[in-house]
């Protein structure tokens, strides 16, 4: 088990490097530049001299391979460069905001799991019930709905009309500010988890070993506890891992919507203003976070399903 864990962790590294490279390549060919975006802000033409000076200051006039070298050597020392906008190290800029994003993502995932998985079970085991049918209809809708639209509607209802919850912002850690963004972000993973759990339960119920369990004389509840649960968890864990990725993408939009000061908001703003180091750094951080989660999920999967360790 330990060897498997170490192996999976080491496998992350080439992917991270590849992504870092890809990100760098993409952004080194960007036509517009930070300087020109600053200059053309409302004013007329761009002053070529000014642009050249700013570029020199930011080190953008160096040839590509020099920049690449600086970038890679920086990476190896965990230095992501300096933000054009803030004139601070990118790591600090990101570090100030990362906790907010983590809080949001983890809370949303927990929300999705805690509600979605049981709903999936109920929908599968009690097919005719009201709860079961509602769950399935809700699941399909949840996957089709633009999350920020839901956010807007919830904001309108709970913040503006009913006044129960604040409509945006971080609130310095006040939990009430967390509620709307978490629900908005968590709805789609919830829907998908409910669906996957339900499909998984139905599929496993038909397996032979469930019949064997019944032939041993177990009650239904026991069959579920002793044999169904673990096998369904395997499927659920995989889905959770996959969902984290798309959730991070969506988190960017949700953060913008609710003015949640996380790295998603940072990314959007930095893209608009062409603050390349921050954009590169943020994307890298998000990808690393995603890979870490996936590796973690893989390890849990291997702990549950012993067949995986063979590969």
């Amino acid at each position: 088990m330990l060897r498997f864990t170490i192996r999976r962790i080491l496998q992350m590294i080439p992917t991270i490097l590849a992504v870092a490279l890809l990100v760098f390549v993409i952004f080194s060919i960007i036509p517009g530049s930070f300087a020109s975006s600053l200059m053309s802000d409302g004013r007329g033409g761009a002053d070529a001299d000014m642009i050249a000076r700013i570029n020199a200051e930011l080190g953008l006039d160096q040839p590509v391979h020099v920049r690449l070298f600086t970038y890679i050597s920086g990476l190896l020392q965990f230095d992501l460069g300096t933000s054009f906008r803030f004139r601070e190290p990118v790591t600090e800029v990101i570090g100030a905001r990362i906790w907010a994003s983590l809080k949001l993502s983890i809370a949303a995932m927990v929300f999705a799991i805690v509600i979605g998985v049981p709903l999936g079970f109920i929908a599968a085991l009690l097919p005719g019930s009201i709860l079961g049918t509602i769950t399935m209809m809700f699941a399909v809708s949840g996957l089709s709905m633009p999350q920020f639209w839901l956010g807007l509607l919830l904001m309108y209802l709970f913040a503006l009309q009913l006044g129960w919850l604040p409509s945006f912002g971080y609130g310095g850690g006040d939990l009430r500010y967390l509620i709307l963004p978490v629900i908005t972000l968590g709805v789609t993973p919830l829907a998908l988890l409910a669906r996957t759990t339900r499909a998984g339960v139905l599929e496993i119920m038909n397996e032979d070993f469930i019949r064997t369990a019944h032939s041993k004389g177990m009650t239904n509840a026991r069959v579920i506890r002793w044999h169904l649960l673990r096998n369904v968890m395997v499927l659920v864990v995989t889905t959770i891992g996959l969902q984290f990725g798309s959730m991070m993408g969506q988190a960017v939009v949700i953060e913008k919507l609710f003015a949640w000061p996380g790295i998603g908001l940072l990314l959007v703003d930095s893209v608009a203003i062409r603050d390349i180091p921050v954009v590169q750094g943020t994307i890298l951080v998000i990808v690393v976070w995603f890979l870490v989660i996936n590796t973690f999920v893989d390890i849990i999967y291997a702990a549950i399903d012993p067949r995986i360790k063979q590969t």
Binding site: D208, T212, H214, S215, G217, R230, N231, I304, P306, R307
Partner: protein, 309 residues
Amino acid sequence: MTPLLELKGLHVGIPSRRGNMDIVRDVSFSILPGEAFGLVGESGSGKSLTALSLIRLLKKPLSVTGGEILFKDDDLRALSDRAMRGLRGDRIAMIFQEPMTALNPLKTVGRQIAEMFVLHQGKSWAEASELAISALAEVQVPAPEERVRAYPFQMSGSMRQRVMIAIALACDPDLLIADEPTTALDVTVQDEVLKLIAELCRARGTAVLLISHDLGVIANMCQRVGVMYSGRLVEERDTYDVFADPQHPYTRGLLGALPRLGSRHGAAGRQRLVDIDSLITDRDSLLQEFCFEPRHAIRDPRVRAGGAA
């Protein structure tokens, strides 16, 4: 001796208001305590359904639509679900055809055996694990203390089937139902597994209902045989009698289709293996068991001319 299990007119099928669609029709036989009874027939003849109906493991919409199932003088059909569960595993146990899929791939075999002791004998998991080791030893699995921690995918087919046997016999049931226990195994190990079942059951006095499509398997182990065709029990006698003097044309067909050493160069010269469609028998016995008619009618003009009973 009172029979351990007695089926009277069992019907299994899909119940409906407009008249049940029965797949198993009017099956009656009995098994004495400690006896090995074979149920033979081709795929689709209803043997497995008969077995599943005994312990109420039929999948909806199938259910028992008629008849009695008497186990030690209790009508199993009248039992509550709870009482039925008490019997399953404890007094009546079953092993299935596919040992790979019949075991939970995510649990160790030791755990799956130990479940029986925890469920029916109230043992703790620690005690049950010990008992599981001895259960594995009894089914001749080498190095049982290590094997208890193995997962099903780490074992061969015959090992897994031995685990299934260990599970089934853990609580010393009165009746063991074995549904095609060796069909999915390599030919080379089929014999070993069957011998194992026979020995263990003989030693414990467990009755066996052995289901198979393979006459050889049945002949080796069972004192009495029932032949099923198309949902009906068409013949039921001592094994020796069935082989020596088969009554029903289908049974004759089954036996005739068995290749026997030297049979192609018998006294009558070279012979082809008999296949069922080419049998010609007298009309009356055919019409009696009309369910067999369509296959014969194609070949035998006398039956076609006579019309159905």
